[in-house]
Symmetry: C2
């Protein structure tokens, strides 16, 4: 049986996200420059994020709370109210950033949606991710949206069974080896890695280069052809 | 065809939530007492929450961000770093509060789960709500969990079609007229209001007392009997 359902990651696969985080971190560094140098601040904010991950989960709201906590801490409480307000503002701007599909994404999804059921599968804040999908103008290509707290083997098994005929007849595409590729392969699905030029530090993992159901593609525009090749090889 | 699937709201239906918000607000008031009286502070925090709702959605993380914003604003930036840290702490405690099922809930869900497919349907942070369900010990009674950004007619139509045989063969139970009762009735489902003693200000709406598919019940323990009555009347 061929592939019937295609899972797609959202942030940094369909649209820029990490780019906005990087510029938010940059502005955060500038706001704290009187108290701490950039290198130490980055260590501190990463430590705060890690400490809070079990409580806040992923997403821009938790990141904003971690910025506030770190700012108060590294300044020993001496940061001005004005600078703290500015941190809330850059957090809101991060949540509200323009959502523009990456080059070629709109056309690729159009082609893919004619052949497969597309399901958006992403971590993060439910509310924020739904807003971004709406703002992207890509919503109509998807027959399902699954905002999940973790991307594990069982996550893909469940979603590909719910929206298709099980994980073996599904493919996942995204920019993270650890979240999009490895657990989807474990579930028995196909998986395409579409690397983004900035890789989030938490997401690193070795590439499963020899796996028969894996491919690394330069962009989402290559996905329709790879899936067609997979189907042809499967038929022989 | 009888009712096959039962939707249940979470916060203040299965476990206390508003109680913890109230005590968080109380501690917030105390922290700001030097700058503003409690009545004005409550107006300010409500205005901030309302202003941020479109960006933050529902949930404890957004509420914590709104407390920080309000604290900086009403103190003209003069609130101490120590007090701001304390606000982050009470926000974390709110996210981490003990999740104890309300009296009778465990037994009622046990009985209901033998007869109906139970689906948890709740707004709020995905990550936080999943954590609370896990902490409640009630997770095994549910065959589905749907964290949604809004509870509208289309929400219930979609969920009751996905988990059952459509909204007409489903019932929803919760503590909010506006979120749990009215849109479920509009979708064609049955709806039971189980009032909580504290009603969140945003959630007020008139009761649909004359609707044939509506009931107000004093507790979740009454739900199995009402559903049985409904089934019996339906059969005649």
């Amino acid at each position: 049986m061929p592939i019937t359902v295609l899972g797609l990651d959202a942030d940094d696969t369909l649209w820029h996200n990490e780019t906005f985080y990087q510029s938010t971190r940059q502005r955060f560094n500038e706001l704290l420059a009187d108290f701490v140098d950039a290198a130490r601040l980055e260590e501190e904010i990463e430590a705060t994020e890690r400490r809070n991950l079990g409580l806040y989960g992923y997403g821009a709201k938790g990141f904003t709370l971690s910025m506030m906590e770190t700012a108060i801490q590294v300044s020993n409480g001496n940061i001005s109210g004005r600078a703290l307000s500015e941190i809330l503002t850059i957090g809101r701007e991060l949540m509200n950033h323009p959502v523009e599909p990456l080059p070629g994404v709109h056309e690729a999804l159009q082609a893919l949606s004619e052949q497969y059921r597309l399901v958006l599968i992403t971590k993060g804040d439910l509310f924020h991710q739904e807003s971004k999908l709406a703002a992207s103008g890509l919503g109509s290509f998807f027959s399902g949206v699954e905002i999940v707290s973790e991307k594990k083997r069982a996550t893909y098994e469940r979603i590909f069974s719910r929206h298709g005929s099980g994980p073996e007849h599904a493919a996942m595409a995204g920019n993270s080896v650890r979240s999009d590729v490895l657990p989807a392969l474990e579930a028995g699905s196909y998986a395409a890695l579409i690397p983004f030029h900035i890789v989030w530090a938490h997401e690193d993992a070795p590439l499963p280069t020899d796996h028969p159901r894996f491919a690394e593609l330069p962009s989402l525009a290559e996905l329709p052809r790879w899936l067609a090749d997979v189907a042809e090889n499967d038929a022989h």
